[in-house]
Subunit: 137 residues, 2 copies
């Protein structure tokens, strides 16, 4: 596929396995990590909303000027699901994902990088994806 | 890959092209469509946050008991980026995506269905993806 000036958005999908359960169940900590990620990597956090579930689990979503960021946790499986969606350049997103993985002490990570809002030169629309390997902590 | 009882989450990634620009720039309408989607398809909306950008564009994110839903719009490109992420079954998600596509009068759609938090039977972690074709309006 040949592209014109798109993609309009970059969407990084991150699965974190092997994180300590108590850390993933810490509502304030997860909120703090999300906020810290936006501050360190130049994302503009407009609003943050979150919930802690019973008996466990935390979900935090940040509304960004660039789109959104989310962290959802399953402490019972030592698993967290993260995504960061931004318009514009995605130069910082790999480092941002690595920061979140490190800060949640993930043992294994799986990352998919999506190019959203892609338009080919012949007018077709599409979406491209590629697996990304994060640097070790 | 052989799986155990995972995936933990279902993440549907939806690109909508060819939507009317004025519709995509209508802040209240986009909020309403997101809320309506949750009501129609059994998703529990805990909180909704949104922003309208200057000179154009709307971003709306809903915090769900099941995870999150977002709609980001680029009226200047007649493009909207949608995602719905839920834990549990994803039986309703295709219909939910079709509802959003229809309600925003999308001419072309691209959909990627991700299985998140997958664990293989031999203990490796992974993520699976498949392209999905939505039914025509």
């Amino acid at each position: 596929m040949r592209y014109v000036s798109f993609p309009l958005g970059h969407h990084w999908i991150v699965d974190l396995h092997g994180c300590p359960a108590d850390l993933l169940d810490d509502h304030e900590l997860i909120r703090h990590r999300l906020r810290e990620t936006t501050e360190r990597f130049g994302l503009t956090l407009l609003e943050i909303v979150s919930n802690r579930f019973e008996p466990q689990g935390v979900t935090v979503v940040g509304l960004l000027a660039e789109s959104h960021i989310s962290i959802h946790t399953w402490p019972e499986h030592c698993y967290a699901a993260v995504d960061i969606f931004t318009c514009g350049a995605d130069g910082n997103l790999k480092a941002a994902c690595e920061f979140i993985a490190r800060s949640l002490l993930a043992q294994r990570t799986t990352v998919l990088r999506l190019n959203r809002g892609v338009m080919t030169i012949d007018g077709r629309c599409g979406m491209t994806s590629e697996a990304v390997t994060l640097d070790e902590p």
